[in-house]
Symmetry: C2
Subunit: 221 residues, 2 copies
């Protein structure tokens, strides 16, 4: 790797570090891009050559995590049921979080709190998750041997993703995220039929299964 690239990588890392530190210290809105750039001793214009927006810098750590997740998912054995693969990929990511140095882990969790508490960042995080979901759907579809936008795949993924959101969202104490995730898995296991994530397309709408809980239309208002 040439000097040029190394330098760029260093600048980028320094910008993210400075940004996160400042955000944690004085809040996201209260921190100007000028201030971040000054901290790293580059011009404001340069900041925007590295990040499309202030938000992108704030969420880049999260974006990295998402990439790791996608990689872990792709690495799961092909014969694993989709939901299991998603779950194990998530456990792997959480495991990495555990393996971090305490200081760094704390910083990451504090950043999570800040995101939850900052509307603009929360919105950005949700959009990021949605982008991620698209990739998950692609992978799950592939595993199911279905077309790229299979509804069953979207169902599995969005069910899983919503668990993730509940996990991160309502947590007062970030150290409980892992516990909460496992609780939600138990809940899912108790709620879902065995093999639900391997349904044949034909199974959809079968009389004996459908309408078990949800009665049909009732010609609404």
């Amino acid at each position: 790797m040439g000097l040029r690239e190394r330098k760029k990588h260093r600048t980028r890392t320094a910008l993210i570090d400075a940004a996160v530190d400042l955000f944690l210290a004085q809040g996201y809105e209260a921190t100007t891009v000028d201030r971040i750039a000054a901290e790293v001793d580059v011009s404001t214009r340069t900041f925007f050559r590295y990040f499309a927006s202030k938000e992108e810098a704030a969420l880049s750590l999260l974006a990295d995590q998402h990439e790791v997740f996608i990689a872990e998912l792709a690495a799961r054995p092909a014969d694993e049921p989709p939901f299991t693969a998603l779950t194990e990929a998530m456990r792997a990511v959480l495991g990495i979080l555990r393996g971090l140095e305490p200081a760094e882990a704390t910083r990451f969790l504090r950043l999570q709190e800040l995101i939850q508490a900052t509307p603009a960042l929360l919105a950005g995080q949700l959009r990021l998750m949605m982008d991620n979901e698209r990739q998950m759907v692609a992978e799950v579809s592939r595993r199911m041997g279905a077309g790229p936008d299979d509804l069953r795949a979207q169902f599995v993924v969005s069910l899983f993703a919503s668990m993730g959101i509940v996990c991160y969202g309502g947590c007062q104490d970030p150290r409980l995220i892992v516990q909460r995730f496992e609780d939600l898995l138990d809940l899912a296991a108790a709620s879902l039929r065995p093999g639900w994530d391997r349904l044949e397309p034909a199974a959809t709408g079968t009389p004996e299964t459908a309408a078990a809980t949800v009665p049909r239309p009732s010609p609404a208002t």
Copy 2:
């Protein structure tokens, strides 16, 4: 209602109309607030007295719909299972959409497309949905006779909400939203155990139900 309030309401409506029309005609980013305000013949400053941001104006129709949804949900019979209540409330909202004049319905659906295609608006919509979910969780918790942040309630709601996102998100032809929703319901009915949304807290983690699909930990990486 006094003249003052009527006038305010008229201005607000005019601003939303002008904003939506311009957004649809030339795109969200390409439309300045100045332009919207000029269209309604008020100052830019006044625009920001009605809406906290350009985004808020763009999403206000959606926000209204969410309010309707919450109201419909609250109006469902108390003995209805939570997921059924959510489903019927959704059907009611979709029914209202159907009852609209064709021109207005088209406009609304085109707005949906625009939101999906505009990152900033998509992010805003997702945040809006999350706010809404909080209210749904509160209502579902109440129905379950549980505490305000019950995990089961969050699970039910987020499962339902993720269906809504899939519904609106991946739709090429917006007129298929209703069909898609019903398909997803079938899928849910086929995937979930009867009575899953009425689980007793104690049921969580019961050996016979848990671990049916998802094997336990496997001490991850």
